[in-house]
Amino acid sequence: MDLSFTPEQQRFRDEVRAFLDASLPAEMREKVLGGLHVSPEDTVGWQRILHRKGWGGPGWPQAFGGTGWDPVRQFIFEEECAAAGAPRLLPFGLKMVGPVIMRFGNEAQQRRHLPPILSGDEWWCQGYSEPGSGSDLASLQTRAERQGEHYLVNGQKTWITLAQHATWIFCLVRTDRAAKAQAGISFLLVDMRSPGVTVRPIVMLDGGHEVNEVWFEDVKVPAENLVGEENKGWTYAKFLLGHERTNIAGIGASKRELARLKRVAGDERKHGRPLLEDPFFAARLAQVEIELMALEITNLRVLSAEAQRRAPGPEASLLKIKGTEIQQALTELWVQAVGPYALPFRREALEPGFAGPHAGPEHAAPAAATYCNMRKTSIYGGSNEIQKNIITQLILGL
């Protein structure tokens, strides 16, 4: 038993830090650390910078152009990137469809689709949820009918994150309507520029546009875009769900947010003294910090089990629940820290380069909107209730 990183892991961390110092553009760093809006250009720009360094696929095997890092290195990399204020990499290509194509796709699909994920040339989105199929995903209704050399796709997906920027979408579609729920589902890759694909924005509670409805009307999808076998899509989807594990707890981002919160609470005043010295606030802050310490160790336990190639298990559910609770608690404290100045809400003040006068300190502007927005984390990616169902069934055996 040893809770320290090995000397090689330490050296790796130093290497990542040095790279970030040299290569992360200052304006990206400022946006992320300031809690401001990160543009799609930043997201792609950062992917391209990493790609040039050969780090475009931090979780990918070298055979597919990845770094070949083990899960602990990936964790260190993500932690350092988050701390430095690097934009979040899009998970849809790197952590979702990429690994599925590597494992179940054919060679042509691998050659066609994997390199542009690394280079940032294609932007993927995830087309699973439908209006009637959220938690109960297997009830999905979007149909794909085989007609000669293509599938004809009809239906509606919803909550599709950043579909407005996407060039490709990976979808779960029903190919056999006679089969029982999970059995008739296939995994299909669809070019968003195909005729018959329509994207409609959904306005979020913070006024932002990050999710969309995606409609398919007689969309012709070449049969070669089917991944693996027809009607086996559910198996691939389950593989994928187990895969977004190294970062599911969001430890790095939460550490960054905790550090920001301490800066904010150092600047804010209560009874004329720094808020950080207020025993009420300090106790709340300590509570979250302590939870985060525990979760980091839990996360590393899961990762080292994975590094020893033990089968991925349902522990990911635990990481997801606790990780999102901590992320949300940090935004609650941010709101609390800025006091009455949490109330002013001006979306324009969250855009980088906003020149106008701020209402209150600059660090207050994003607090309430971020708090509202982060409620999503316990809903998406399998809601926390569904995660608890998984724990009770698969870990507790109830």
Binding site: V203, M204, L205, H271, E332, Y341, F345, A359
Partner: protein, 380 residues
């Protein structure tokens, strides 16, 4: 002990609720929210006709004060409808402040017009860096010629852009956190040297930061020089009671919407309300709502208590229970709506944001725990 309403009170409560159910349904509210003014003068006029703008106005000036139960019923109804009108800021806080601090002549000049809905006056008291400390005021007022010069900055003044007058607290003597030495001034919003940075709050209300470098006539001083703290403190406690009552209305609406949604939303072949995990969550929500309702009553009935210690203990206790209910019920309502909960489309996210704003207004939970402890030490 008697929790019953009189027949008149019952009638008043029903009337307001019916009016708002008709005129302030979700789509109507959305139009008001998106209008440039951000609130409705027509609705304001109706509230005046119903006599509701005079609930803090003394009888001598044509109002009904004290009317704690009527205020409670009104605020709960306004909360249920998520009203955007300046009721709390002008009809409660502004009016109560004037009634507590202004001279009889000043009251006669202002309060009847406020009760009639013709004038709006909102307090401009909080300052950057003051957080929720009521006595921490750095804005200064100095005699200049026959009048006054006010200099300073006021933070997050609710409904300032809607108001005719700002009731500005300023220091005429004393150190930055002293209770003594605070004075109150009547400042026309459009006076020279009054600069507003206007915006909406997270829950859609109009508000502004106000910068003051204004020359005012001698009679702008309301009541006695240096004596405003007691009035501010008592008006704030009335505001707290009203805010708690509003919260109860929002909380109930939020719980109702959640129950309704989970009964109709189906997953895994059944309404999601059938899942026991969610049933227990809604049971917990109900417990929060009922505890908040109880404290809403306590707050209403103690808001006029002359013993300041006892009054503070009750009102802070109420705000703590209400604040915790706002947090829990708001978050769980969104959670139980799934993705729909984080969109702008349904009432639930609007309720969630109002509950957040209420939690942060007039002192957050930690502030009131601290104030409760301070008021409890040494008996009382």
């Amino acid at each position: 002990m008697d929790f019953d309403l009189t027949a008149e009170q019952q009638l008043l409560g029903d009337t307001v609720q019916r009016f708002l159910a008709k005129e302030y349904a979700f789509e109507a509210r959305r139009r008001i929210l998106r209008s440039p003014e951000g609130w409705s003068r027509a609705v304001w006029g109706r509230l005046a006709e119903l006599g509701l703008l005079g609930l803090q106005v003394p009888e001598a000036h044509g109002g009904m004060a004290p009317a704690p139960v009527e205020t409670l019923l009104t605020m709960t109804a306004l909360g249920r409808a998520l009203c955007l009108e300046p009721y709390l800021s002008s009809a409660v806080l502004g009016t109560a402040l004037l009634a507590a601090q202004a001279s009889p002549a000043q009251q006669a000049a202002l309060l009847p017009a406020m009760a009639a809905g013709e004038r709006l006056a909102v307090p401009a008291h909080g300052e950057p860096g003051a957080r929720y400390d009521l006595s921490r005021v750095s804005t200064r007022a100095a005699r200049e010629g026959g009048g006054w010069r006010l200099r300073g900055k006021k933070a997050v003044v609710l409904h300032a852009p809607a108001a005719d007058h700002l009731l500005v607290s300023a220091r005429t003597s004393g150190g930055e956190a002293d209770e003594a030495g605070l004075s109150l001034f009547l400042v026309p919003r459009e006076a020279g040297g009054v600069k507003l940075l206007s915006y909406r709050t997270i829950d859609g209300q109009v508000a502004a930061d106000v910068e003051l470098d204004a020359a005012l006539p001698g009679d702008a001083l309301l009541g006695g020089e240096g004596t405003a703290f007691a009035a501010i403190s008592s008006a704030w406690d009335r505001g707290l009671a009203a805010l708690c009552a509003e919260a109860v209305g929002v909380l109930q609406a939020t719980l109702d919407a959640t129950i309704e949604y989970t009964k109709t939303r189906r997953q895994f072949g059944v309404p999601i309300a059938k899942f026991q995990a969610l049933q227990h969550r809604m049971a917990d929500m109900l417990i929060h709502v009922e505890q908040a309702r109880s404290m809403g009553y306590l707050a209403a009935l103690r808001a006029g208590e002359p013993d300041a210690r006892e009054r503070r203990r009750a009102l802070s206790a109420a705000k703590v229970v209400v604040g915790q209910a706002c947090r829990f019920v708001g978050q769980q309502a969104v959670q139980l709506h799934g993705g729909m909960g984080v969109t702008d489309e349904l009432a639930v996210s609007h309720c969630f944001k109002r509950l957040l704003a209420i939690e942060l207004s007039l002192g957050d939970t930690d502030h009131h725990v601290e104030r409760f402890i301070a008021a409890s030490v040494g008996g009382a």
